[in-house]
């Protein structure tokens, strides 16, 4: 049983194109995230959604737009792709409560912009 799934796993596209990455979690968690991992393996938060509501929007170009149709899904749409957008994008989920554990990451989507 896959806890957090992402599609596609690989995405190769040309500069200027628009693309989407989909994420689904079957854990019943109330919060979902998008992280970006650059070539130096540095993971950085991009967005966080709690119960379909945006609660974190870090300094990310407005070409990136997250969409949460329901608590189990958080998609990432990217307009006018640039070379610097090439990275691995991870979706993650967590459940509220005193533990605040963020335990579950998806397998990642490797985006290459040519």
């Amino acid at each position: 049983d896959t806890a957090v799934s992402q599609t596609p796993k690989y995405l190769v596209t040309q500069m200027g194109n628009d693309k989407s990455i989909k994420c689904e979690q079957n854990l019943g968690h109330d919060t979902m995230y998008w992280y970006k991992q650059d070539s130096k393996k540095f993971l950085k938060i991009m967005f966080s959604y709690n119960n379909k509501e945006l609660i974190i929007n870090e300094t990310v170009p407005n070409r990136f737009s997250p969409k949460s149709p329901d608590k189990a899904h958080l998609n990432l749409h990217i307009n006018s792709l640039e070379l610097g957008d090439s990275a691995v994008y991870f979706c993650a989920s967590s459940q509220g409560g005193s533990s605040g554990r963020v335990g579950y990451f998806g397998p990642g989507t490797r985006l290459t912009v040519l």
Binding site: Y33, L43, I45, S99, V102, P107
Partner: protein, 111 residues
């Protein structure tokens, strides 16, 4: 701003050679410190959460400890299958539960 620094960047060990990875952090109020393992081409896999100085957690050959300024991940008698990148992250009290990650330590255990 929260800061997390991991050292060393890379570590090569012989099988059975114990060692420690370091994670030093600066945060205004720590809610939790997390250790993850990441294998090539995969997402981070949760290992431990530590909440207060003095706390320790163990899992197989791994033991994580926490002080007010840093955390250590001790690896006892490592095996080649322990080879991975180990990531440390902090969660600030009052935050919306996002994590601030260090850049990781790439561990290679040679047979």
């Amino acid at each position: 701003e929260d800061q997390v620094t991991q050292s060393p960047e890379a570590l090569r060990l012989q099988e059975g050679e114990s060692s420690s990875l370091n994670c030093s952090y600066t945060v205004s109020g720590l809610r939790g410190l997390f250790w993850y393992r990441q294998d090539p081409g995969k997402g981070p896999e949760f290992l431990f959460t530590l909440y207060s100085a003095g706390e320790e957690k163990e899992k197989e050959r791994l033991k994580a400890t926490l002080t007010k300024k840093e955390s250590f991940l001790h690896i006892t008698a490592p095996k080649p299958e322990d080879s991975a990148t180990y990531l440390c992250a902090v969660q600030e009290r009052g935050s919306a539960r996002q994590l601030t990650f260090g850049s990781g330590t790439q561990l290679t255990v040679l047979p």
